[in-house]
């Protein structure tokens, strides 16, 4: 086992962990807005970690540059899409869930 492959495995595992946590959050959290937190953020970090792991796995080549652009694109596109969905819900008058204060 090369050290680089171990590092790449750790990164891919970490990315997968965050993606799984995001999926669990999508089921567990109470309402639409809270679920967006679980849908938007873990995906960003998870995908970037997986892509970083793949960059380390391959020897440096043109693929590396493509993967780097991919992670940059995710970093810009993911919050934008989350914001678009949230704004659509807000404009349709969806009221956020509140914890009951007694």
């Amino acid at each position: 086992m090369e050290p680089l492959h171990i590092a790449s495995a750790i990164l891919v595992f970490g990315g997968t962990f965050f993606m799984v946590v995001g999926s669990i959050g999508l089921i567990r959290l109470p309402d639409f807005y809270a679920r967006l937190h679980a849908a938007g953020k873990p995906d960003t970090l998870g995908e970037i970690l997986i892509v970083l792991g793949l960059i380390l796995y391959e020897p440096f080549s043109f693929i590396t540059v493509k993967l780097f652009f991919l992670s940059f694109f995710i970093l810009v596109a993911n919050p934008t899409a989350t914001h678009a969905v949230a704004m659509a819900a807000y404009k349709r008058g969806l009221i956020p869930w509140r914890k009951e204060h007694r």
Partner: protein, 181 residues
């Protein structure tokens, strides 16, 4: 619209087209080493031309529509690294709250105003808010931001300290001490 503004608008469109086309060449046409031969033939270059033209036409009023942007790149670099670190913190936090059996969340909507003038600054702020712990930008109207926070502890940095707003103000030269303000 006056004549000078029209010319600069055309230059911006040409610039966007060139950037997209060079990117296309980089990704599909260029052969960099013998393992991944490029597709250097007429059909791929023609596809690139058509695709770039369509994208520039569809997005002609979105990005870089003639607004002046003042950005200090050497100020942006520390901000980007700070933001990446915030993303890691955000994910650990969301993971903790999701996996905790009792789910310690108390969502609320907050509203605040920013002194920014530039659209680019507001875009960066909105995306940064969405990526950092427990907050999602819901609505941006003029200078008003509506943000959904997963817990009150996440709302306070935006409302009271305003760290992120100040950092971005520094990057985009909209602060009190910068010459353009």
């Amino acid at each position: 619209m006056e004549e000078g503004a029209q010319v600069s608008m055309r230059n911006i469109l040409i610039f966007k087209f060139l950037v997209l086309f060079v990117f296309w060449i980089l990704l599909s046409v260029w052969a960099l080493d013998h393992n991944y031969p490029g597709q250097f033939n007429a059909i791929h270059i023609a596809q690139g031309l058509v695709a770039s033209a369509i994208v520039v036409y569809v997005l002609r009023e979105l990005i870089l529509h003639g607004e002046k942007i003042h950005v200090k790149l050497f100020r942006a670099v520390p901000y980007v690294f700070w933001e990446l670190w915030q993303i890691v913190l955000a994910n650990i936090d969301v993971a903790y709250r999701v996996l905790h059996p009792k789910m310690p969340i108390d969502p609320l909507l907050i509203e605040f105003y920013v002194p920014y003038r530039g659209d680019m600054t507001k875009t960066w702020l909105a995306n940064s808010i969405t990526l950092t712990p427990g907050t999602i930008t819901i609505l941006v109207e003029g200078q008003r931001f509506i943000v959904h926070a997963l817990d009150k502890s996440f709302a306070d940095p935006l409302l009271i300290d305003q760290t992120m707003q100040k950092k971005l103000m520094h990057v985009f030269m909209e602060g009190e001490n910068d010459s353009t303000s």
